[in-house]
C-alpha cells in the first residue's frame, strides 16, 4: 500500500481537465514543486519536508524541525524562512492559543465555563500558520473548535473568554457560546456546531468576494476565505458539494483540513475508505496538498502559496494538515480510545517547542525574549479571566433581542409602522 502513494503526484493531475486558463496551470506547477511530497504508508503519516531538493525515503524516526532546516541549510540557500519579528509574532500567537486553552480547561473544571468546550491544544501551528497571513478583511470560518481561530484572527482574548463564561461582554454578548464565535469586525464567520456546516458558508463568503469584484465592480476586492474543518468532515456530503462548486466557479477559498486523525472516538482510518484527504482535491480540479501540521513554518509556506493562489483569482486549494489534538475531543471526552504511545509521539512534536528550538538555534531570539513573551501571554490570559469574571451576565431583556435584524422583527420598523409602507424601504426601485 505504501508504495502506491509515494509515486502519487497529487497536484499535477487535474489541470488538463481545466481548459479555461493555461496560466493557472503553469503557476500551479511551480506551486507544486516546492511544497511537500507525501511519502509514507497509510498507517503512519510521516514527517514530510518541504523540498527544494530530491527527497530520499525518510526513516521511521520523527525528525524535528530544526534537523530538517539544518539539512536544508546545507543543501540549498542559507536563507531562513522567517524574520525575527515574524518569528516572535508566530511564537506569541501559538503561546496565546495554548495558554488560553489551558485556562479554559481550568475554568471548566471550576464550573465557570459550561456546556461543550472543544480545545485546540496541539493544533496551534495550523491556526497560526494560516491566519497570520491574512488581512483583516479576509474571512475565517471554523467549527466548534474555534477559540484559537478567533484569537489568531484578532478577536481580543477578553471577548472570547467572556463569551465562554456567558457574559454580556462576550463577542456575541453571551448568546453564542463556545461553539459559535462570530466577529463582524474581524471577519470571523463562526463557529458552527454541525460539522461541514461551515464549509458552504465559507464558500458563500468567497462567492461574495468574487461577486463584488465581477458584478459590483469593486475592482480591488480580493478577499480570501479560509475554511477550517476536520478529518471527519471530509466524509460529509457538504464537503464534496463545496469542493465541486468552488472549483467550478474558481472561488477565492482555501479548504484547510485539520486532520488530527480522530473524530471523537472514531479513528480516521476506520471511517474513511481512502484516508489521504489531499487526494480529494484533484478529483474536483484543484490542487491537494499534504503538509505537516505540527510545524508552523511548513504550514506557513504552504499557506502563502494557497492564499496567494486564491488572491490572484486562480481558484481554490485543498490543504491537508496532519496534526494532533493533545486533549480529548471535548472536555467531557474521557479520551480512552487513543493509544498513549501515539499521544507521546505527537507530544514530542509539539509545535511550540519546535518553533522555540528553531528560533533559538537560528539566533532569531533568545531564551529571555521568549520567556518575556510567555509571561506577557500569561498576563493577558489572567486579565481575560478577571475581565470575564467581573462582567455582568446578560440582562433578562436580552433574551428576546437579536432574533431578527429587523429592529422590531416581522416587518415592523423602528417607528412602529409596517416597513413596507415606509417610502425609504421601497425607494430605489428602477423603472423596469
Amino acid at each position: 500500500m505504501a508504495t502506491a502513494f509515494s509515486t502519487a503526484k497529487f497536484s499535477t493531475q487535474p489541470f488538463p481537465l481545466n481548459p479555461t486558463s493555461t496560466t493557472s496551470h503553469d503557476s500551479s506547477i511551480v506551486f507544486a514543486r516546492p511544497t511537500s511530497q507525501f511519502l509514507g504508508s497509510t498507517r503512519k503519516f510521516r514527517l514530510t519536508s518541504s523540498s527544494k531538493f530530491n527527497l530520499s525515503r525518510r526513516s521511521k524516526t520523527v525528525v524535528a524541525v530544526s534537523d530538517v532546516v539544518k539539512q536544508k541549510k546545507s543543501k540549498s540557500s542559507p536563507s531562513l524562512l522567517i524574520t525575527k519579528e515574524e518569528g516572535l509574532d508566530l511564537y506569541e500567537d501559538m503561546v496565546l492559543g495554548r495558554a488560553f486553552e489551558d485556562m479554559c480547561a481550568q475554568m471548566y473544571y471550576r464550573g465557570k465555563m459550561f456546556g461543550f468546550v472543544h480545545l485546540y491544544n496541539g493544533q496551534e501551528a495550523v491556526s497560526t500558520g494560516f491566519i497570520k497571513l491574512l488581512k483583516q478583511q479576509d474571512s475565517v470560518v471554523s467549527t466548534y473548535r474555534d477559540h484559537v481561530h478567533a484569537l489568531s484572527k484578532g478577536v481580543p482574548a477578553r471577548a472570547v473568554m467572556s463569551e465562554l463564561f456567558g457574559k454580556t461582554t462576550g463577542c456575541c454578548r453571551g448568546q453564542g457560546g463556545s461553539m459559535h464565535m462570530f466577529s463582524r469586525e474581524h471577519n470571523l464567520l463562526g463557529g458552527f456546531a454541525f460539522i461541514g456546516e461551515g464549509i458552504p458558508v465559507a464558500t458563500g463568503a468567497a462567492f461574495t468576494s468574487k461577486y463584488k469584484r465581477e458584478v459590483l465592480k469593486e475592482a480591488d476586492c480580493d478577499h480570501v476565505t479560509l475554511a477550517f474543518f476536520g478529518d471527519g468532515t471530509c466524509n460529509n456530503g457538504q464537503f464534496f458539494e463545496c469542493l465541486n462548486m468552488a472549483a467550478l466557479w474558481k472561488l477565492p477559498i482555501v479548504f484547510v483540513v485539520e486532520n488530527n486523525l480522530w473524530a471523537i472516538g472514531m479513528s480516521h482510518l476506520r471511517a474513511t475508505s481512502d484516508p489521504h484527504i489531499y487526494k480529494k482535491g484533484p478529483a474536483f480540479g484543484m490542487p491537494g496538498i499534504h503538509v505537516d501540521g505540527m510545524d508552523v513554518l511548513k504550514v506557513r509556506e504552504v499557506a502563502k502559496e494557497a492564499i496567494g493562489r486564491a488572491r490572484r483569482g486562480e481558484g481554490p486549494t485543498l490543504v491537508e494538515c496532519e496534526t494532533y489534538r493533545f486533549r480529548g475531543h471535548s472536555l467531557a471526552d474521557p479520551d480512552e480510545l487513543r493509544d498513549p504511545a501515539e499521544k507521546a509521539r505527537y507530544a514530542a512534536r509539539d509545535p511550540i517547542t519546535a518553533l522555540k528550538k528553531y528560533l533559538i538555534e537560528n539566533s532569531l531570539a533568545s531564551e529571555a525574549e521568549l520567556k518575556t513573551i510567555e509571561k506577557k501571554i500569561d498576563e493577558v490570559v489572567e486579565d481575560a479571566v478577571e475581565f470575564a469574571d467581573e462582567s455582568p451576565v446578560p440582562s433578562r431583556s436580552q433574551l428576546l433581542e437579536n432574533v431578527f435584524a429587523d429592529p422590531k422583527g416581522f416587518g415592523i420598523g423602528p417607528d412602529g409602522r409596517y416597513r413596507c409602507e415606509d417610502p425609504k424601504f421601497t425607494e430605489g426601485t428602477a423603472h423596469v
Binding site: 453571551g174 463562526g190 458563500g204 463568503a205 416587518g411
Partner: protein, 367 residues
C-alpha cells in the same frame, strides 16, 4: 375586488412587464389579469434591476428558464453571474447563499420544490435562522428561500409535502405563503428587501392561475407587509382561515355556503410566521366560529397553532369547537382518486362550516 370571481385564462399569458405598464397607462381603468407565474417573474425582475446585490441561485433557473419558468428571461437580462445555475447540491448552495448573505449580498435561493429543501434544512435553520441571534446581531442573513410547496398533481409522496408548519415553528425565520398574483408580487418584493431569512412557499398549481391586479400592484415599489393577513371575503357567521391554494377552495366553499344562508368570512393568512393573530382573533370575536384549512399534515400543523391562539385569546367568544381541516395523515398516494381525497376539497370545508354553525343555536348575528 376580493378575488372571489376569478376565471382561469387558459393559454393566455401576460406579456412582459414593460408593455403591461405602458398598456395600463392608456387603459388605466381596466383591471389587468396576471398569472402568479408572471407576478413572481416580474417581482424578481424588478428587484434584481433595482439592486445589483440581488441574485438568483438554484437548479435550472438560468438556461432552462426555471423549472417552472418562474425565472424566464432573467438569464438573458442579467447574465450568468446573477442568475446562477447550480449543480444538484441543495445543502451546498443553500449554505453558499447564507455565506453570501453574511456579507450583504441578497441571494434568492430557489428549491425546485420545497421537498428538496430537506437536504438543505441544516442551513435554513441552523445557519440562516439562528445566525443573527448567535452572533448577537453581527451577522444578519437577508436571504430568501423560495420554491413550490405542497401537493401538485400525481407527483407522489416524496414530492407533495407541505412545509409551512415545519418552517413556521422555527424562530428567526419569516414564512410567507402567497395566494394570488397580488400576494405573490407584494410578498416576494417584501421578502427580498427584508433583512432577515424568509421562506417563501409558493404553489405549483397556482402558477398558471390568473388574478386581477390593480395599477398599484403593478407599480415597481409595491410591497405587502409581512405579518398581515388579508380578509378576502367579509362575513358574519363563520371564519375560515386558509393559505396558499386552500384560499381558492375556501372562497368557493363560501359561495356555496351563501346559498344555504351561511355568510362566511375568508381570511387569506399570507404570512404563517409571524401569524396575524390579531386579525384572526378579531374575526373570531365577530363570527364566533372558526374553521382552519390547510393542505399539510394535521398533527402540529398551522391549524393547530391557530386553534391554540384562538383558545388562548378568544375562548369566551367561541360558540362551537374549532374545526381543523387538513390533508390526510398519510404520505400522499399516487392514484388520482386517492390523491383527491387526501387533500382538502371544497365539500370538506362546506361540511365543516355547516357543522360549526349547527352545533349550537345560531345567535342572531349582530350587524
Amino acid at each position: 375586488m376580493l378575488g372571489v370571481v376569478r376565471q382561469k385564462m387558459l393559454g393566455q399569458s401576460l406579456p412582459k412587464i414593460r408593455p403591461v405598464v405602458s398598456v395600463l397607462r392608456s387603459y388605466s381603468s381596466a383591471a389587468k389579469q396576471m398569472t402568479v407565474r408572471d407576478a413572481l417573474n416580474s417581482a424578481l425582475d424588478e428587484e434584481m434591476s433595482a439592486d445589483p446585490k440581488v441574485f438568483l441561485m438554484g437548479e435550472e433557473v438560468g438556461e432552462y428558464q426555471g423549472a417552472y419558468k418562474i425565472s424566464k428571461g432573467l438569464l438573458e437580462k442579467y447574465g450568468p453571474e446573477r442568475v446562477r445555475d447550480t449543480p444538484i447540491t441543495e445543502a451546498g448552495f443553500a449554505g453558499i447563499g447564507v455565506g453570501a448573505a453574511y456579507y450583504g449580498l441578497k441571494p434568492v435561493v430557489e428549491f425546485m420544490t420545497f421537498n428538496f429543501s430537506m437536504q438543505a434544512i441544516d442551513h435554513i435553520i441552523n445557519s440562516a435562522a439562528k445566525s443573527n441571534y448567535m452572533s448577537a446581531g453581527q451577522m444578519s442573513v437577508p436571504i430568501v428561500f423560495r420554491g413550490p410547496n405542497g401537493a401538485a398533481a400525481g407527483v407522489g409522496a416524496q414530492h407533495s409535502q407541505c412545509y409551512a408548519a415545519w418552517y413556521a415553528s422555527c424562530p428567526g425565520l419569516k414564512v410567507l405563503t402567497p395566494y394570488s398574483s397580488e400576494d405573490a408580487r407584494g410578498l416576494l418584493k417584501a421578502a427580498i428587501r427584508d433583512p432577515d431569512p424568509v421562506v417563501f412557499l409558493e404553489n405549483e398549481l397556482l402558477y398558471g392561475e390568473s388574478f386581477p391586479v390593480s395599477d398599484e400592484v403593478l407599480d415597481s415599489s409595491f410591497c405587502l407587509p409581512i405579518g398581515k393577513a388579508k380578509i378576502e371575503r367579509v362575513g358574519r357567521d363563520v371564519t375560515i382561515t386558509a393559505f396558499s391554494r386552500m384560499v381558492g377552495h375556501a372562497l368557493k366553499a363560501a359561495e356555496i355556503l351563501e346559498k344555504d344562508g351561511i355568510d362566511a368570512e375568508v381570511i387569506n393568512l399570507r404570512s404563517i410566521r409571524p401569524l396575524d393573530r390579531s386579525t384572526i382573533n378579531a374575526s373570531v370575536r365577530k363570527t364566533n366560529r372558526l374553521i382552519t384549512v390547510e393542505e399539510g399534515f394535521p398533527q402540529h400543523g398551522v391549524g393547530a397553532e391557530i386553534c391554540a391562539s384562538v383558545v388562548e385569546e378568544s375562548f369566551a367568544y367561541l360558540d362551537a369547537p374549532v374545526e381543523r381541516i387538513a390533508g390526510a395523515d398519510i404520505p400522499m398516494p399516487y392514484a388520482a382518486n386517492l390523491e383527491r381525497i387526501a387533500v382538502p376539497q371544497v365539500e370538506d370545508i362546506v361540511r365543516a362550516a355547516k357543522r360549526a354553525c349547527y352545533r349550537s343555536v345560531p345567535l342572531a348575528a349582530a350587524a
